[in-house]
Amino acid sequence: MRRSPVSILASTILVLLSMITMTWAVLSGGWTDGSTVLYLIVVAGVVEGVLVAQLLRHRVFELLLAPFLAYLIIIPATSNLLPAGIDGTGNVISKYLLASWQGIVSNDPWTFTVGLGTIIWAVSYNLAWLATREQRAAVGTLPAFGALGINALNAPLPGAVVAPTLLCAVFLLLVIASSQIGGLLQQWHIRRLPILPGLTRRFAAGTAFCVAALLCVAAVIPPVSTTDFSKTLFHYTHGPLGVISQTPQNVTVGFSPAVQPGGPLISKPTPVFTYSGNSSQTYFTVTVDGAFSQGTWNPGPPLGVPESRVPFPGPEVPRDRNPADGGVGAVTATVRDSIRYVAANPTGDTAFGIFPGDPDSSSLPGNAFGTDGFSGLLTVNAIELDSTTSVGASAAVSGIESTATGDQLRGAGTQYPDFARTYATFPLDSSDAQTISRLAQNWTSGTGNAYDAATAIEAHLRDPHSFTYTLNPPAAPSGKWPITYFLTSSKAGYCQYFASAMGAMLRAEGIPARLVSGFGPGSATGSDFTVTTSDAHVWVQAFFPNYGWINFEPTPPSVLGNYQTVPRGVDPTKPTPTPAPTATAQPKPTPRPTAHVAPTPLPTHAPGSATSLGPPSWLGPLALIVALVALVLGVTAGWLRNPKGVPAIWRRLRFLARLSGMRPMRASDTQLAYTRRWIEQLPGPVATHHVVGESLTDIAQLSMKHQYSRDGLAEPDHERMTAAWRGMLRAFPKLAWQRIANRRGGAANATE
């Protein structure tokens, strides 16, 4: 029996709307530009699904036909985008097959479009077919919801997918309701049930009201947690839940001397160097970015300030070491590390020296760049080594880290030396600069000193309710500074966004600030630490009189790095009661898979403890297994609870009998004889026997009546059958438990 044309049309329209909004959500996520193509594929998928559902009667044909129908639209829609150089029909076909299979994880635009188009077509076809023929739209919405969820979690532009995703979810719920009323109408038609006027109108109104109300409520409920655990569960990932993000630009996370917040990145961790030393907490400084212009930061001193080049043969960096001059702080510790390069030229074309803090000494000779002081360089912006570094080369380096406490920094005052003042210039010559300045004033209102102002800005940026870490930040509109867009609209970005924004706001507040490009501390590999390209990081330094340049960390903990604020008053070379992971404290040599790693101690990680942070590594597979088991149990429970017809009930009963240890039904057994045999074997107390026995007898008798009676079962018989089956289902867990208990008892007796 087919559904009425009006019902099919309504379902088709809703399916079409839901699939179009799903495509809209995917396209809003910034995966690809093939918008017209994908919309075309979606419409074709829905139309094909509906036509096939209405014209063909065999499910097998419909399944076999699906791939051909998919390529019927995908090939014409994407053939004009096919990369040049692919000749021959066989090559083209194999290319399409490959692209359909694994295009979603490809970086090639055409392959990705084909892969995405195939998925979207399959979802559309499946939903249209199930909703208009099988009245099982709820099953059909499963892949659609899955696609929505994955898109929501991994889209390069997460902020842009919210509206279409929610709209699509609403349409999907309406599709479920539409399928439900379609199925009911069909049943009523078959049973010749008269329908009083106004039913469909009331159904539609009630459904629409319900869905709208639910969406409103769901939208205002805050999330339970914003902490991302997926990284600890799914290793080797480039995005949440292991889905590799497709990025319009194939820019890999790595060291860059300039800080110019840009487009999406992908993380491909490659080891750069290993090190060991007297601390593992320090950031590795490579270059200092003091030149701020139009929202970006470049290496060197502030604009207009000359930079000097001083050769040094090593090991001491030729810098002004008098705290009174401001070049170094009065309260510092020296961190010493031995570095061994495992990649040639980890800092790019120019070989820069790598220092665990502000450059202090290096065994490799080179030239120091910075601002001239009285007895050397007041600031060291970079050390350009004389020769490029090769694999296996090693260097003994040391850096200077401030150990000033928070109180000391609060009392540092604002009597900046002249060279430091140049780091506080922030011309308000553009609307972006003015916006940043206003924002900085708002955020720092009520603070009484530079340190509190800096920590207020840092805290705002680290607030997970306000800003989100992502490697796929949305692109800023043309003409707008990326950091202004980041601060006011998108509120999502990676470390360059956070550090650039904080540096600009500090300068807008008149606090000398600069950015430092370098590496995080990496991850432990035995007694050493390994730093990878994905540990490349940017952070902020603000100048405090008498204490020098102080590190700030505005980048929040996120899916790709557990960034923590910098502890004050801590000597990184000495173990302290505060949590401080050391090389020996890391129990596993596994490198961290993410782009950036927290350089600071982790709160739950006590010194010397062998306990790792976060959920253990077996939790992921365990969660997967639990989910699979739950899925299997759920499907089985659904199968058991919803038999269609008497033969289905009898099949399920035999399944339960087999679970109970009954032998298979013999050919000579009638239903009644079989159930009687089962009743005789039942374990447990008489009460259960009685209930189960009645249910079993009823089912057997009615099955026989259904099978052998000329008129079959009447409606009351069906109800009796259903009631008996439900009674059986309710009693079965108790039976199963009794059987297990009896077995145990039997085993125990046998042991005795």
Partner: protein, 397 residues
């Protein structure tokens, strides 16, 4: 299949996604599904609890073929709209479908009338009703059971038999049949208007002179004209499916004879060989008629005593009290001998044979030998016969 399983799967997947990643949008989607489940559950629960179905059904006694009417009102007393409500009647009345599907707003009610016809005898119950309601997503459908409203008793079809049949059944309501069936001299019991065909020797001239119209005498035997009906309800002898079954025909003939006898003021009794061995002593009047009809309304062929035993047993006791009518579908012959045995001079009993072969039973059609015809009146009924014109069939037998 409800949609609960797939929606639950979506909910679980989204909740896992949200919990693992902390992404707000994933949480919103998960919340949406959670709220959907909760709202659907509460919605369907509220509807089921606040649903009222009222039903006004007929009561009393009816006959097969009578029309009846029922009134239904469905009220949604909840504050939520009711997307749909299936009202399903579980009465066992054939061809009567008062079922409806409706949708109701909050606090609204809807009503309808349903008309039907009693097609079968028996004790029928109006109801129970099953009202099916649920949320629009099919997550939590619920059934509400409304108890049965009333019972009615439907008597079997009563045909108005012509006088010849009635007279064969042991009485002489009018001596219209040709010839004198009894050896004993009749007694004149009254007069009535002359009817075409009355013999001239029956004209009562004195009354005719007094009234100015030809008046005929009516006669009665000295024997009682009471009637005993023996209905064969032995298991397995009947054939066919109601209403075209030999059992239904037999019961209908029985009811018709009882009706005619009572209306004629005769005492009538009923003996059956059903499982309970029902015996209803002879009696007159409306109460007796209802008593027998109520039994016939629910009578089933579930006995095991052969009809011959029944005739023999009760026929002896009935001797001299009036005629015996045996209604059977049996193809055995011994009951005929029993019937002849319990007869007396001047008394011809009636044998009504409902031919089971005409209702699908195997074998050849029933034939009545000439000797039997001389011993009793015979009436062979076949499927499709018009029971009110039996005399034609009977005379042509």
């Amino acid at each position: 299949m409800t949609t609960r399983a797939p929606v639950s799967a979506v909910l679980i997947v989204l909740a896992v996604f949200a919990g693992l990643t902390g992404v707000r949008l994933a949480y919103t989607l998960a919340y949406l599904m959670v709220l959907l489940m909760v709202a659907s559950f509460l919605w369907s629960r509220a509807l089921a609890k606040r649903l009222r179905v009222e039903r006004q059904s007929p009561t009393g006694t009816f006959s097969v073929g009578d029309q009846f009417e029922e009134q239904f009102v469905v009220r949604n007393r909840s504050h939520l709209p009711m997307p749909y409500c299936e009202v399903l009647d579980r009465s066992e009345l054939r061809a009567y479908r008062p079922d409806r599907v409706c949708g109701l707003g909050a606090g609204q009610a809807v009503g309808w009338q349903a008309r039907g016809e009693f097609e079968r005898r028996g004790r029928h119950r109006f109801g129970p009703l099953i009202a099916r309601v649920g949320d629009p997503f099919g997550l939590f459908p619920r059934n509400v059971r409304v108890a049965a409203a009333s019972d009615v008793v439907v008597f079997p079809t009563i045909h108005h038999l012509d006088d010849s049949v009635a007279s064969w059944a042991g009485g002489s309501f009018d001596a219209t049949t040709g010839g004198q069936p009894h050896d004993r001299p009749p007694d004149a019991s009254g007069v009535r208007l002359y009817q075409s065909g009355d013999p001239l020797n029956r004209v009562h001239w004195l009354s005719s002179a007094r009234t100015g119209n030809l008046m005929s005498r009516t006669f009665d035997t000295r024997q009682s004209s009471d009637q005993l009906i023996v209905l064969d309800l032995e298991y397995g002898i009947h054939a066919g499916v109601a209403p075209e079954s030999s059992l239904e025909y037999a019961i209908s003939i029985c009811a018709s004879l009882v009706h005619a006898a009572v209306r004629a003021g005769k005492a009538v009794g009923l003996v059956t060989n059903d499982r309970a061995g029902t015996v209803i002593g002879a009696g007159r009047g409306e109460a007796q008629r209802l008593r027998i009809l109520e039994f016939l309304a629910v009578a089933q062929a579930d006995g095991y005593m052969p009809i011959a035993h029944l005739v023999e047993q009760h026929g002896r006791m009935w001797k001299g009290r009036g005629g015996i009518t045996v209604i059977t579908a049996s193809r055995e012959t011994d009951w005929v001998e029993s019937l002849v045995d319990v007869g007396s001079r001047g008394q011809r009993h009636l044998a009504v044979v409902v031919d089971p072969t005409s209702f699908g039973a195997p074998g050849t059609a029933v034939r009545v030998p000439t000797a039997w015809r001389l011993a009793a009146n015979w009436w062979v009924v076949r499927s499709g016969d018009a029971l009110s014109t039996l005399s034609v069939r009977a005379s042509g037998m």
